[in-house]
């Protein structure tokens, strides 16, 4: 082979090789394969897993996790962490359930009741997120500590207000939560639409770009004229609102707000797990919407699937731990392979 053809051939050869490598080391691709493999595995061990009803369940469970996971994606890619999403969801559900119970008792149109509840939950979530943002931007607390405060206050208030028991009773909400088309309920459809919007904002808009820039190098973002403080406030408020909406989601599913069932205070850790499995860096600056969606889907399938193959639910967290470890190792491997090129 002459030198000139060798040189000419090299770039193209490299191009196709890096393409193959890029696909194989693409976290989203690997996650998708894992997700499909898990569904096939659980389905092959128990055919009921492939039942339409179970798929509907999977979508619903996924929806309960997806908004707080995306909230966490915004916060983590911006270089922060939000430990409060679980307890914010719980306290929003409990408080809003109390507020809208008079409407339920007076037989106000169910659509209006749920709309009022949704707004109330979003508002309470915004207040909780704003509280974290205040501690971080005005009092310079690190996000871990600031959101730990919000987490603790929210979790405590949820218990105080509810006395540990479900708040309110709204069978109409449960009834509505089951309505929909095929295996997708209206509730799930709404959550998925919101999720898609969040993905578009994260990856296609200036807002999303600033989010990654701040997480990657806060000083560079500030030097580029980005209002870092205002952006961070908006991110924590957004996370709070999404947590509040998750609280409403569980209210609708169970017809009441509760501090101990449905969404629990430890949901924050599941949401963070979804983000980490999705390939985001906890240092900030790196993460993908699709990665988090797949991470949340894998966690949902594992949690539901293990029950189908008669693994005691107590083991689920152990398996989730193993999943996080594998995802983190995959990321380390990917980073190393990139450095070698």
């Amino acid at each position: 082979m002459s030198i000139s053809t060798d040189l000419a051939a090299t770039p193209e050869h490299n191009e196709s090789r890096t393409l193959v490598r890029r696909i194989l080391t693409n976290q989203q691709f690997v996650l998708f394969i894992v997700l499909v493999a898990l569904v096939i595995f659980f389905g092959s061990r128990n055919a009921l897993f492939f039942h339409v009803g179970e798929f509907s369940n999977l979508f619903t469970d996924f929806s309960g996790l997806v908004l707080i996971s995306l909230a966490e994606t915004y916060v983590i890619t911006a270089g922060g962490i939000d430990l409060a999403v679980g307890s914010t969801a719980a306290v929003s559900g409990v408080v809003a359930a109390g507020w809208i119970q008079p409407l339920v008792s007076h037989h106000v149109n169910q659509g209006l009741v749920l709309l009022a509840g949704t707004l109330a939950c979003a508002l309470i979530g915004a207040v909780a997120g704003g509280f974290s943002a205040l501690l971080i931007t005005a009092f310079d607390l690190v996000p871990f500590v600031a959101t730990l405060v919000t987490y603790s206050v929210g979790a405590g208030l949820a218990l105080v207000i509810s006395h540990g028991a479900p708040v309110g009773y709204n069978p109409g909400a449960i009834y509505w939560s089951a309505s929909g088309f095929g295996m997708i309920t209206w509730l799930v459809a709404i959550v998925l639409v919101v999720a898609v919007l969040l993905g578009l904002v994260l990856h296609l808009t200036a807002y999303g770009r600033y989010n990654f820039a701040i997480g990657s190098n806060e000083f560079a973002a500030r030097a580029a004229g980005i209002n870092v403080r205002r952006h961070l406030v908006s991110v924590y408020v957004l996370a709070g609102v999404l947590a509040g909406l998750t609280g409403m989601f569980f209210y609708i599913r169970s017809g009441s707000g509760a501090a101990t069932t449905g969404v629990t205070n430890s949901a924050n850790l599941v949401a963070i797990a979804a983000v980490v499995i999705g390939g985001a860096s906890l240092i900030g600056g790196v993460g993908r919407w699709a990665g988090t969606m797949l991470g949340a889907a894998i966690l949902t399938v594992v949690s539901d699937g293990l029950i189908f193959i008669n693994v005691p639910p107590t083991w689920i967290q152990v398996v989730v731990g193993a999943l996080i470890a594998v995802a983190a190792l995959l990321q380390t491997f990917r980073r190393r392979s990139r450095r070698l090129t």
Binding site: A206, R209, A213, A220
Partner: protein, 254 residues
């Protein structure tokens, strides 16, 4: 370099004073700078170099004094204001977001919106930004194979070249470079100095802050020496040698 007296200075500082609490950081600092001029800003640690560039770029607000850009008196409320007025600042080691692509970094804070409704909703035009970023970098003499690479994949010299290229591409009047050749090897530093010269050819005024005196002597037209927050000397580069410059910086020459 001689300047015709009637030319409007592109940047003029008049009696700038700045305090951090009871500590006086800048005392009556005044100088003028013209387009197409590379000015070295040197001084010992704590002499006020950082305070001065932060004042020019709008990070610090002076207690008194005037900043006049291209004949217009200005009052910065934030770094964003100075950027709007045509002053770009490249801070030491912190100019770029490593996880973003080269193109995204060039356009950071100035993202091109898509046309129509999508643009009004905040959707940005990634393709045109990547294309224009490449053009802008080529224009100032920086060749990067692919602007879709993330900055973390570049070498230190390449990163610095991109950061300076971005500043030159956006600056209308002045670019401030804080220790741009720090931590760079000899060849990479030479590349950076070449880019600085190309900025001068583009009619920009460059404020070059550096501790590496041979670099300052090589690339500048004029040197301003700061000592204890005051201008100790402001003279054409040809009047200095490394030794005399060092003497002025430390104050041993007087």
């Amino acid at each position: 370099m001689t300047q015709a007296p009637e030319r409007t200075p592109v940047l003029e500082l008049r009696n700038i004073n700045l305090h951090y609490g009871s500590i006086e950081a800048l005392h009556d600092v005044s100088f003028t700078a013209y387009a197409g001029e590379v000015i070295g800003l040197v001084g010992d640690n704590g002499a006020g170099k950082s305070s001065l560039i932060k004042t020019i770029s709008g990070v610090n607000v002076p207690d008194s004094g005037e900043i006049i850009v291209d004949g217009v008196p200005r009052h910065w409320r934030s770094p964003h204001d100075s950027m709007e007025a045509g002053i770009e600042t490249l801070y030491q080691d912190s100019g770029l977001a490593p996880d973003l692509t080269i193109g995204a970094n060039v356009f950071l804070g100035r993202e091109t919106r898509r046309k129509g409704l999508l643009g009004r909703l905040g959707v940005i035009d990634q393709k045109s930004m990547e294309r224009e970023a490449l053009e802008q970098l080529v224009r100032v003499g920086i060749t990067i194979p692919n602007t879709r690479r993330t900055v973390s994949e570049l070498s230190g010299g390449q990163r610095q070249a991109v950061a300076i290229g971005r500043a030159i591409a956006w600056a209308k009047h002045v670019i401030i470079l804080d220790e741009p050749t720090n931590h760079l090897g000899a060849r990479q530093a030479a590349e950076v100095l070449k880019v600085i010269k190309s900025a001068r050819e583009h009619g920009l005024c460059v404020l070059f802050i550096s501790h590496t005196l041979p670099h300052v002597l090589e690339v500048t037209d004029r040197i301003i020496v700061l000592r204890l927050g005051q201008v100790a000397r402001d003279a054409p580069t040809s009047e200095f040698t490394v030794e005399s410059l060092l003497g002025t910086i430390t104050g041993l020459n007087e």
